[in-house]
């Protein structure tokens, strides 16, 4: 069967035959979550090579600007999504905004979960320096993070879910840039350390702050 990639067709039970890319398109339309090549292959009884060819064909048909929809590769699978150009009309029709934006506290908490998952709330708080409670509650409610069991000390752990990848346009967590890229250069770090050290010594050796007479 694999020699005939371009003609891969799916036999329906009732004898109707459809090109594989049509069937893949229909499945992507029906599914709420992105579908992986493996899932598509299982459902269509095709092999992954054939699925790849069908997806390529669809990607061409749904290339930006050609239709009102786009084929996206997100959260480890393929999915159909609207072209942003239709957003104003969608907002008028559904009167529900897509995702409201994140507050700085929510974004920071989400970043910590995304990079350090699974992670508990006390750990998030330690890194942020302020409570992560209300941010965690909101992120949970919006489905951006989810529970991921408990730590050995009994604290609930959290991780990001499929919705996070979908909404942020990521295929996998590996697509997130390395956090180290935001670190200051070694030279800047050395200067910073030097300054902190001087400040500490000044304070330690600075004598009484003029309180006693």
């Amino acid at each position: 069967m694999s020699e005939a990639v371009e003609e891969a067709r799916v036999d329906a039970d009732d004898g109707v035959e459809a090109p594989l890319e049509h069937v893949v398109e229909a499945l992507l339309f029906l599914s709420g979550d992105p579908l992986s090549a493996r899932e598509l292959a299982d459902a269509t009884a095709a092999d992954e090579e054939q699925i790849a060819a069908a997806v390529d064909l669809l990607a061409e048909q749904y290339a930006p600007g050609r239709r009102g929809l786009r084929l996206r590769e997100l959260a480890g699978g393929f999915t159909l999504a609207t072209d942003p150009a239709s957003e104003p009309a969608a907002r008028r029709l559904f009167s529900r905004p897509r995702v409201s934006t994140l507050t700085p506290a929510q974004a920071e908490t989400l970043a910590i979960v995304a990079y350090l998952q699974p992670i508990s709330r006390p750990e998030m708080t330690r890194i942020r320096g302020v409570s992560a409670d209300s941010a965690v509650a909101t992120l949970l409610e919006r489905g951006l993070i989810e529970e991921a069991g408990r730590s050995q000390f009994g604290a609930v752990l959290y991780r990001t879910g499929t919705l996070f990848l979908k909404l942020f346009g990521l295929d996998t967590l590996k697509d997130l840039p390395d956090v180290a890229q935001w670190d200051p250069t070694p030279q800047e770090q050395a200067e910073l350390r030097e300054r902190l050290l001087r400040a500490g010594e000044a304070r330690a050796g600075g004598g009484p702050g003029g309180v006693e007479e």
């Binding site: 339309f29 897509r98 890194i127 840039p177 010594e201 330690a204 702050g209």
Partner: protein, 251 residues
């Protein structure tokens, strides 16, 4: 609202809270001269005016005030922090640097995430229920397919008490200034006492808070103290109620 924009009108300073912090860090305002309690009172006034408590800003405020208090207590205890600061300046610098890097990393990562989300603005996904005949047979669960032991285990995990959390890295006030004030006033009834006596057997935080309380007594003109030599004993005694603090200072 962010705590940064809290408007303050103090004797020493008038303007937004974040400017005050900046000036303190640049040492353009002497933290020792700033009554931190006044800042807290200004915030409480603000809360009262608003009529609601925003937990997020409240925590932010508490953290900032705690940091200010810690800084102030270190400044005040400058000469004798051998026993009060268990971190060497080098260690402290490393610790601070590590914390700054961590905070900076994830703040930057948060900025990146916000940009990503903005770039996806207007992308919508279809979230329509499947046609009835295609719905997953979710509850098609096989009889006896689950092990009841799983339930017992889950409950056993919930019975475990969490271990005590080490707080060595955080300074948490477990004693209030009010408590220490009452303690000091009690001692003042005797007329005079040494600082050593006042903090006998107390932990590091209590010592720091006691210094606050002492400072407060001094500000209110209830007590003065003297120290004969550097690192020497500090002796505290009550002032005559008629004397204003300024006169005491001059004397």
């Amino acid at each position: 609202m962010s705590i940064a924009t809290l408007e303050l009108d103090l004797d020493l300073f008038s303007g937004p809270f974040d400017l005050l912090l900046t000036l303190i860090l640049r040492e353009e305002i002497d933290l020792l001269e700033l009554p931190v309690a006044d800042v807290v009172l200004a915030y409480l006034d603000h809360l009262e005016a608003r009529g609601e408590l925003d937990l997020e800003t409240a925590t932010e405020f508490i953290v900032l005030i705690a940091a200010l208090l810690e800084l102030k207590s270190r400044l005040m205890l400058g000469g004798e922090d051998e026993e009060l600061l268990d971190l060497e300046p080098g260690e402290a610098a490393e610790e601070l640097l590590a914390r700054m890097l961590d905070a900076r990393r994830y703040r930057s990562a948060a900025g990146h995430l916000r940009e990503r989300l903005a770039a996806e603005e207007g992308v919508r996904f279809r979230s329509v229920a499947l046609p009835a005949h295609l719905r997953r047979a979710d509850v098609e669960l096989r009889e006896g397919s689950q092990d009841p032991a799983m339930l017992g285990e889950a409950l056993g995990r919930l019975l475990a008490l969490p271990p005590a959390i080490s707080l060595r890295h955080i300074l948490v006030p477990r004693v209030s200034v009010a408590e220490r004030l009452a303690h000091l006033r009690g001692l003042l009834h005797r007329g005079r006492f040494t600082f050593e006596e006042a903090v006998q057997g107390a932990d590091r935080m209590t010592v720091a808070v006691t210094v606050f309380a002492l400072l407060e007594l001094y500000r209110r003109g209830e007590a003065v103290w003297e120290q004969q030599e550097s690192f020497g004993e500090i002796s505290v005694h009550a002032t005559a109620p008629s004397l204003a603090p300024a006169e005491r200072l001059a004397g």
